[in-house]
């Protein structure tokens, strides 16, 4: 089965990214909520947690995209060296 420019591992990691985004958002908001309860600073902890979770989710997506692009470039280079397409 043709997998396009991505390997089997890449496909699996792509399907994980959405869940990673959601989990990072939920965990950070929960941490913010917990901090709010301890410090009595509602809603600033939740807001900060949401912002950090969002940033973390995006960071993971960008890093995965960069990693896959690098791996793909390496693979193409190796294929060209071998004389294959």
């Amino acid at each position: 089965m043709a997998l396009g420019p991505f390997s089997k591992q890449d496909h699996l990691q792509i399907t994980t990214l959405g869940l990673e985004f959601a989990v990072s958002e939920i965990l950070c908001v929960w941490a913010g909520f917990w901090a709010d309860k301890k410090l009595g600073s509602f809603p600033w902890g939740v807001v900060a947690g949401a912002a950090v979770g969002f940033a973390l989710g995006f960071y993971q997506i960008l890093r995965a995209a960069k990693q896959m692009a690098q791996d793909n470039a390496k693979l193409k280079k190796a294929e060209q060296k071998d004389g294959r397409r």
Partner: protein
């Protein structure tokens, strides 16, 4: 008919509340399933390892050899390299355990232990421990910490990126647990909901309930087959993702 009660009864764990010598033993349907699966695997694999010369013995030995080769050549070596060879027993155990826990849930009167977040969290913690061990074993404490910062990162970005990378690894382990739990739980919820269609429609009119029987059972059969596929798929995904994460810690850029 209380639909929520029926779904909860089907999905949730049931504590039998056994008290022994003043101590309350946490014997639940999920722990019984876990022990049953562990015993079946322990004795089954031990029996296979004896290398019986009967037709069944030879068949099971060949199947087990193929299985180990599949885990080694399809997951461990491509993702972790030669360094991963020593961890092969863990991956073989993990795959079989997750698979058998899911398959046990398809047997009537048994529960899917992996539809319990505590079970999947424990499995993910084991995988997280393996990832941590790989990082410390192959790079040392300082090298492992250095691996969290991508090469070529400007110095002023390090305090920002380091916590993000550490959190990212923690989240990856959490995702392992949540993915398996959600897939197993949702599959069983769909199965019970499809069965409930018959009774809900039947409450409107008995003939409507009888009419809904065949389509609902056809869907139920389809979903059970899908659950069978999901059992294998989730075991594969859990093991493969663990090997990918462990490999990414061993071969840092």
């Amino acid at each position: 008919m209380d639909v929520v009660e029926i779904i909860s009864h089907h999905i949730l764990d049931h504590d039998w509340g056994v008290i022994l010598g003043g101590f309350r033993l946490p014997i639940t349907t999920h722990t019984v399933t876990l022990f049953a699966v562990s015993l079946v695997l322990l004795f089954g694999l031990h029996w296979i390892s004896l290398g019986r010369q009967s037709r069944t013995g030879r068949l099971l030995t060949t199947l087990t050899e193929e299985y180990v080769a599949f885990i080694r050549d399809g997951m461990v070596l491509p993702n972790m390299g030669e360094e991963g060879r020593r961890f092969l027993p863990y991956f073989c155990t993990l795959f079989l355990f997750v698979l058998f826990c899911a398959l046990a849930g398809l047997i009537p009167n048994m529960k899917t232990a992996t539809a319990n977040i505590s079970v999947t969290a424990a499995l993910a913690l084991c995988s997280g421990g393996l990832i941590l061990y790989c990082g410390l074993k192959f790079h040392g404490f300082v090298g492992f910490l250095k691996g969290f910062v991508p090469s070529g990162t400007p110095g002023w970005l390090v305090p920002l990126l380091f916590p993000l990378e550490v959190l990212s690894l923690v989240i990856k382990v959490c995702v392992l647990a949540i993915r398996l739990f959600a897939n197993m739980l949702s599959g069983h919820m769909v199965l019970i909901c499809l069965l409930l269609i018959i009774f809900i429609v039947g409450q409107m009119h008995i003939a409507a309930g009888a009419g809904a029987f065949l389509p609902a059972m056809a869907l139920e059969l389809f979903m059970t087959c899908l659950e069978l596929l999901v059992a294998f798929l989730q075991a594969y995904v859990f093991t493969l993702l663990t090997s990918i994460f462990a490999g990414s810690v061993i071969h840092t850029h």
